[in-house]
Symmetry: C2
Subunit: 671 residues, 2 copies
């Protein structure tokens, strides 16, 4: 007789393997499919990301069309079509209907897709909610016809099942189209496909993206540049941050016969000199086989690798957006908001965490139609993909919340949390491996290295914001005073003259005495001939001045600028130009002009003006030359001032002196 | 000559399968292993959860010992040992060193572990960071010796690799021990093993948990009950919320020969009558084979299942904590905080989402040493497991933030966000499938059904809090006034008498006139004989009163209570008792007493007192009888009042009337 099973036996009888597809079918919220609205977004996102990755790998300027249409109650049809390289027939089933299958997981370079899960998860979700297969059309350039497959994902086996197959003529030379019918809900606004594609357009200014909404509305995000980003290259793992276990796998799996070759050729940044130094330190032999390094010897090897100074990780594997394109992308999409200020975008140098290089980019936009009384907008991106959900769980949000924004001119209760004000902060993290909090790739996990880099980048951008805001406030104050004086004084003088019967006196000396500033005005004027920036400088100080004027212009705008008169010096790389102005007597004025061709990407907030030869307290509409400008001036300020003084003396001119006529009104005005 | 590969061919060549273990190795942050502190917590959590699950499945009162010790720089040794049923030798390698392998994924009932990932992930992490195997000791009752295995997880194959094997004598009759050396950091305080085990003790009051910290400190969480929770039973899937694709799998996979049997026996809640009704609606035949139902017929079948009224889902598969044990668990752990108020915990009835039953429990604690000027504490639990990370990403936090707590007496800026005040909110979600945001199981994904249930439960508990706070404030005000009058008035009278030479008058009428209240005092006194609650009622109104007194007592305390005098009626199930008090003339008083045996789980905040026969404005220390009490009174208030009036008249008593002597001081005191 067989005895009844014991408890341990009963429990053992239930143990079994779980198919990865079954797991994700039951936990589809982990993949971003937890409600009809989010499921639609995740589907659009996975398909569009694949299209962009494919185009860029093949060196094609991406054109992606997303169409969403109603297919019945609670059901939408989603199609995403691209002009990418197409997918070989034999790979189509696995690419679209098998989880954990892909080309980008094992490659050590930046890509949107890394997991080999996303698009197959969308197919799984569609199968599950509507029992309809995914329809794939794909054509590669060298074949005549396109392949058309209808696919299911068999969750118990995690394998594709082909429901139908055909070929067709397609008017595209190459490309891929996926069509899914799924339970989903279309919304506009926050966390919508529109929102997602708009974000994608900002950080992928080389892509042309079209969205056709269920009501037929067609939205086109035109590309802002026709230059493809330089392709991200595959790199070897870098020893910094390598774990003991990973090193063990590498040692076991390498095809290099000797330890020396393994260190020098399977890892990044280990020069021949470093190989020697590492081996010396850990006492291993250059000629021994990598697989013979075991146990405690592995630990010594890793320790030595971490101690020896190595070549910094290469950033070839990363594809940052770049400061210029961040600004252009933001401007392209934020056009209607007309912000008053774009902080110069910050691109941090690449760093390594856990052997994987990463880098951080930050842009800050301020003012215009951005709402002033609400929390700032945060645009989060990872590998050029907008992150729309789980903001509260993201390392980017955390880094923003932990900064004291009050020091940079934004409102923030208690000096932590998301600040308020008319600002938008864009943060892009690029890496060969982004540590997402889940497979849905919606938030970046907490990581001290990423936190540090994001914080540093934010601080740099935030300092620009602070400078802008304090300049603005100074200008606003001084400008208001200036305007009042120029308006009121003449009226006052006229009235007084009328009462006393005396003639109206020349007011310039009085204005000069009260203001005591050099005033610069540079307001761009756009006309069919292009953008004209007349710059007027008036010396409202009681002294003759020899001034140097410096302009900072975005280099790409400077390359097409015309100057009148020609500057005395330029630095086109940094976008700098400078002039020594003709001597200005008290109340004297001079003018120069910049001209840009039509549609140049430049506006008032791009141009910075600095003046040397008068101190900050007596300067209005420009700033003193910052300390970090290292221009070789045509002549130094001291020389210029000396020359002017000598000239003055020779001509017998006297400095105008209004001290005797000092009025009480001006007493409080000097700083 | 072979032509060079095209771009599509190059891309295809890189496509390959990704092992699930490789995937998680690279994305270990998803599993909760992203920094040394969190990695330690996740390891302790996965091991302790497995221990608790194993004990409960085997009907054993759990005893779990967690020991953490230092093993070198950045390295800790973690061991978790239990008195569970043990694991058969042949299952040990797969259970501990293979991802997506387990007994609980396919069972449709509440368990802590559901994924078959957790403990193997901890083994993987230990292997990776220290290259050390996991050591497992396990003994089942029917074998003499324990098996000792050292295991690695081979990530390329996702298979266990046995590094060593042995047997040993173990002094336990049965149990399991796991020992890991991993890169980790020990912290105290928030998000620490201590924090986690304390939370576990709150919602698992039947478990005894011991923590030995690296410095040797030994913390014991004693069990608060010796009753094991009723075992959660496996159930069949319920058609509510079933997806089309899932129905398809069931139809394809069932062993039942006919559709009728499939509907009646493979699904939950479909009675014989309902089977007939469903088949009538969708026009399918009872005798046809389930696998013959395809495509559009599946859709009709699912539609009919959703339209026909079915038996509600069973909650056998769930293991809620229960209102009483929530309170006891909180009290056991919050003893030192001494809160002034525990809202009666709320257990919502079970609901279904996506075919899976779930239910929500909520407890609110207020006052005592909880900090008053900080955000409230939130204790989140899922299937009796504390959730310590990702609070901002959790559906529980969201539900709390979206409630306007100002209406319930807590501070909350703008009526949303986490409120502030000396409160703690416990929320437990129990389900056969919790929709976690990631495999780390740290936050519950947004879900409209869960959100609704959590919100409803919070509202019920919050209403109790509001009642408590408004009562307290009323009592505080009236009580302060009462105290002042009883103190000052006699002194005032004495002084006046002294000055005028008149005798000190009887003040009771004056006190009565000013206060015009019935006053109840019930302060528990604890002595060796037990807990004594003397209840004193004084009639400080100018009228004779016939009053009914009602007590609400926790049923378990009521079961052991002694009353003097005996109540006129009781409802032990609801924990209610009531008395008709002897008639109280103006300034008259009466007393009764409750007694509980020593260590009864009852205190002042558990006892609610209600008085009928006087309106709310004239009642101090008790509340008017709530409308939802449906007690069969020994005689109604009306009858009692009539009888008292008749009695009065017969005795020739007159109502005392102080109206003529109305003082200006009292004018403002009446409401």
């Amino acid at each position: 007789m067989v005895p009844p099973p014991t408890i341990a036996q009963q429990l053992a009888a239930k143990q079994r393997e779980i198919s990865v597809a079954e797991f994700f079918e039951r936990n589809r919220q982990i993949l971003g499919f937890d409600n009809p609205q989010r499921s639609l977004l995740t589907t659009v996102k996975e398909a569009a990301d694949n299209s962009l990755d494919g185009c860029e790998e093949a060196g094609i300027l991406p054109e992606v069309t997303v169409q969403v249409s109603k297919e019945g109650e609670d059901r939408l049809r989603v199609s995403v079509e691209d002009n990418g390289p197409g997918i070989l027939r034999r790979e189509i089933p696995n690419v679209f209907a098998r989880l954990l299958y892909g080309s980008r997981f094992h490659s050590n370079r930046q890509a949107r897709g890394q997991q080999g899960i996303g698009i197959s998860a969308a197919v799984l979700y569609a199968n599950l909610t509507t029992a309809r297969p995914a329809k794939i059309i794909s054509k590669v350039e060298e074949e005549e016809a396109a392949h058309v497959l209808e696919l299911f994902l068999d969750t118990q086996k995690n394998q594709p099942r082909i429901a139908s197959e055909d070929v067709m003529l397609w008017d595209r030379p190459h490309g891929t189209r996926i069509e899914l019918v799924l339970r989903a809900r279309y919304v506009r606004g926050r966390q919508s496909p529109y929102d997602y594609l708009r974000g994608t357009a900002i950080v992928n200014p080389h892509a042309r993206i079209v969205l056709v909404e269920p009501d037929g509305t067609r939205v086109t995000f035109e590309r802002a540049t026709s230059d493809l980003p330089p392709p991200a290259k595959e790199t070897l793992p870098h020893p910094y941050g390598l774990e003991l276990g990973e090193l063990g796998y590498f040692l076991k799996g390498t095809k290099k016969p000797t330890l020396r070759e393994f260190l020098g050729k399977d890892l990044q940044g280990v020069s021949a000199r470093a190989v020697g130094e590492v081996l010396d330190r850990c006492g291993l032999k250059p000629g021994q086989s990598p697989s013979s390094v075991q146990g405690e010897a592995q630990e010594r090897l890793l320790k030595s690798l971490h101690e020896v100074s190595l070549v910094a990780p290469s950033s070839d594997c990363l594809s940052p957006i770049g400061a210029m394109l961040i600004k252009r992308g933001l401007r392209n999409v934020l056009g209607d908001v007309r912000p008053e200020f774009y902080a110069p975008p910050v691109s941090r140098p690449p760093k390594v965490r856990g052997g994987f290089p990463f880098m951080v980019e930050v842009g800050i936009v301020y003012g215009g139609a951005l709402p002033a009384d609400q929390p700032i907008q945060i645009l989060r991106f990872a590998n050029r993909v907008p992150l729309l959900f789980q903001q509260g769980a993201c390392a980017i949000t955390n880094a923003i919340s932990n900064l004291d924004w009050r020091r940079y001119g934004l409102d923030q209760k208690g000096g932590s949390g998301i600040p308020s004000g008319p600002a938008l902060i864009l943060v892009h993290v690029a890496s060969t491996k982004i540590p997402f909090t889940s497979e849905a790739k919606e938030a970046i996990a907490e990581d001290p290295e990423i936190d540090r880099e994001v914080t540093l980048a934010l601080q740099v951008a935030a300092r620009h914001l602070r400078t802008h805001l304090s300049r603005r406030s100074r200008r606003d104050q001084a400008g208001a005073k200036f305007e009042i004086i120029l308006k009121i004084l003449p009226k006052l003088a006229e009235k007084t003259s009328h009462l006393t019967g005396n003639p109206v006196p020349d007011l310039t000396p009085v204005v000069t005495r009260i203001m005591d500033v050099v005033h610069l005005d540079a307001t761009p004027v756009t006309d069919p001939a292009g953008i004209r920036v007349p710059v007027q400088i008036v010396n409202y100080t009681p002294r003759a001045r020899v001034l140097e004027l410096f302009a900072e212009i975005p280099p790409e705008a400077m390359a097409v600028a015309k100057f009148d008169p020609a500057p005395d010096g330029t630095d086109p790389g940094l976008g700098r130009a400078w002039w020594t102005l003709p001597k200005l007597t008290p109340s004297g004025r001079t003018q120069l002009e910049l001209r840009f061709p039509p549609k140049t990407d430049v506006d008032a907030s791009d141009l910075d003006w600095y003046v040397a030869g008068v101190d900050e307290a007596h300067l209005l509409g420009a700033d003193p030359l910052p300390g970090d400008w290292d221009v070789r001036l045509p002549r130094t300020i001291v020389e210029a001032a000396e020359a002017a003084a000598a000239e003055s003396a020779a001509a017998g001119e006297e400095e105008v002196d209004y001290d005797a006529a000092e009025s009480s009104a001006s007493a409080g005005e000097e700083e």
